[in-house]
């Protein structure tokens, strides 16, 4: 599928629609940081020395959680409301529907993420380069997670069945790998594997950019950067294709 054939019709309008919908769910936005708060509390109480890592990881974990929101939202609109039919049978492109939904969710949940970023800046200020790397990796992570979430949502016929998968995915990507803790806690042979996961590679790249937080070799860092980029772009392109394909039931 050539990039040129991707249609973006209606993306902006649907972004605003989704943003409007999300802003009605104020409680969900406010409570989106509860899990991160719990994990940071554990760190503060039990291992304060790794707090900078945990805070960087919490910001990235929060971005990763956006994919879960997109997954739930897409499934809810399609299964409960059946409104996806209205949008697909319209000038709004399927790609625009997917990207608009992802962007709307991002905009709605940006404030608490920024609050967490401010906390990070107050507790463990990042340098300019590290901040830029944080933004870049967060953007790549957003592409990856929203794409994954949207694709997964299309496979379910029952909202309730999604919840366990959402919990597993966010925990498997966010808690298990070295996102909230330093990679040095893992044996060396796990490092390349950790760098293949988008969440942990993003965290390690930011920590490396900060200087002194992580001691990884240049090839390992390069592996992480390339993997993150390939995964983000690859899954995003697949999601665009899948969005168009799944707009019509077969």
């Amino acid at each position: 599928m050539a990039l040129a054939r991707i249609r973006w019709a209606g993306t902006g309008e649907f972004t605003l629609t989704e943003l409007r919908v999300q802003l009605h769910e104020g409680l969900a936005i406010v409570t989106s940081m509860v899990v991160q708060a719990v994990l940071l509390t554990f760190v503060v109480l039990l291992a304060r020395s790794i707090l900078p890592y945990a805070l960087i990881g919490a910001v990235l974990y929060s971005v990763f959680m956006l994919g879960q929101r997109v997954q739930n939202e897409a499934a809810y609109i399609r299964i409960d409301h059946k409104l996806s039919d209205l949008y697909h049978a319209s000038p709004l492109s399927a790609e625009g529907y997917f990207v608009g939904m992802s962007a709307g969710v991002l905009l709605a949940y940006l404030p608490p993420i920024l609050v967490l970023a401010v906390v990070l800046e107050l507790v463990a200020p990042l340098g300019a380069v590290a901040t830029l790397v944080l933004i870049a990796t967060a953007a790549a992570l957003w592409l990856f997670t929203c794409s994954l979430g949207y694709v997964i949502s299309t496979f379910f016929r029952d909202n309730r069945a999604i919840w366990p998968y959402a919990s597993l995915i966010t925990s498997a990507f966010g808690v298990l790998p070295p996102v909230l803790y330093p990679i040095r806690f893992l044996p060396g042979y796990w490092h390349p594997i950790a760098m293949l996961l988008p969440t942990s590679s993003a965290a390690c790249l930011v920590e490396a950019a900060q200087g002194g937080l992580v001691a990884l070799s240049a090839p390992t860092l390069a592996l992480g950067a390339v993997a993150l980029l390939v995964e983000a772009v690859g899954v995003f392109l697949f999601a665009l294709y899948w969005a168009r394909r799944s707009a019509q039931e077969r």
């Binding site: 409680l27 406010v30 109480l45 039990l46 909202n159 309730r160 069945a161 919990s167 597993l168 803790y181």
Partner: protein, 254 residues
């Protein structure tokens, strides 16, 4: 015969097996619904194992068991809200001889079933890490039973006030994850700042944690009076359950 205007179905029957079948079918037909409750506590235990002193691990395992039990309340909240709002199945049960307490037990049981494998695996892990006496198992089992009833009641009470499916996740998150965090489930009480310790004393999970940690003699356990802990746990649980059942809106407009 239906024409006889008496109760065509007396209370009793196979209520618990019926809800048990509903819970069993849920996990037997949804692999993730069976796997997630088992894996999630271990993922968090893994994280805690990495960041905390190794001596705390048995305490963290017990904490995972208690948190898993408490989290059944979150699942009860989700199920009962879904049954009421989306499928409208609760209407069928309200307009029936079933009363709200029996309905609560039914849903609580149907959600205990997916949690049971996790509890069993964690129990095995605990025994391997830190052998537990029969008394210890009895105390732990009792605490799990009490917390199961209490948090299922809280979950169903909250569910009756939720207005849409979208509210389930944030409300559940706020209630159950928050309570879990406030209680010293995964760490000794003394690790908490004094003000926080005082606040945690209002939660039954705190007394469950203290009671089990003390009875098992877990490293990191805070010296406390087990009879007082047990008494306060039961008292808070009874009060909490009573309040929850009072707030539980079985019929719209109640």
């Amino acid at each position: 015969m239906a024409g006889t205007v008496t109760a065509s179905n007396a209370p009793g029957g196979a209520l618990l097996p019926a809800f048990g079948l509903i819970g069993w079918r849920w996990i037997s037909r949804n692999p993730a619904a069976a796997i997630a409750p088992i894996l999630l506590p271990f993922i968090f235990l893994y994280f805690l194992r990495l960041i905390s002193p190794p001596a705390y691990f048995p305490l963290e395992i017990v904490g995972a068991m208690l948190f898993t039990t408490q989290n059944i309340g979150n699942w009860v909240l989700g199920d009962s809200a879904t049954w009421r709002i989306e499928t409208r199945m609760q209407d069928l049960f309200v307009a029936s001889p079933l009363n709200k307490v029996r309905y609560l037990f039914g849903i609580a049981l149907s959600n205990l079933i997916p949690a049971a494998p996790a509890l069993i695996v964690l129990a095995v892990l605990l025994e391997l890490e830190y052998p537990v006496s029969p008394l210890g198992w009895a105390v732990l089992g009792s605490c799990i039973l009490v917390l199961w009833i209490l948090f299922s009641s809280i979950g169903i009470a909250i569910s009756s006030r939720v207005r849409s499916q979208r509210e389930i996740w944030p409300v559940g998150n706020l209630t159950f994850t928050f309570i879990g965090m406030l209680s010293p489930l995964y760490y000794p009480l003394t690790v908490l700042p004094p003000a926080w310790q005082a606040v945690s004393r209002f939660f039954p999970t705190t007394y469950a944690a203290l009671l089990v940690q003390g009875t098992l003699g877990l490293p990191g356990a805070v010296p406390s009076d087990p009879y007082l802990d047990a008494g306060l746990l039961v008292a808070l649980a009874v009060v909490g359950t009573a309040i929850a059942l009072r707030l539980y809106r079985w019929r719209d407009g109640d």
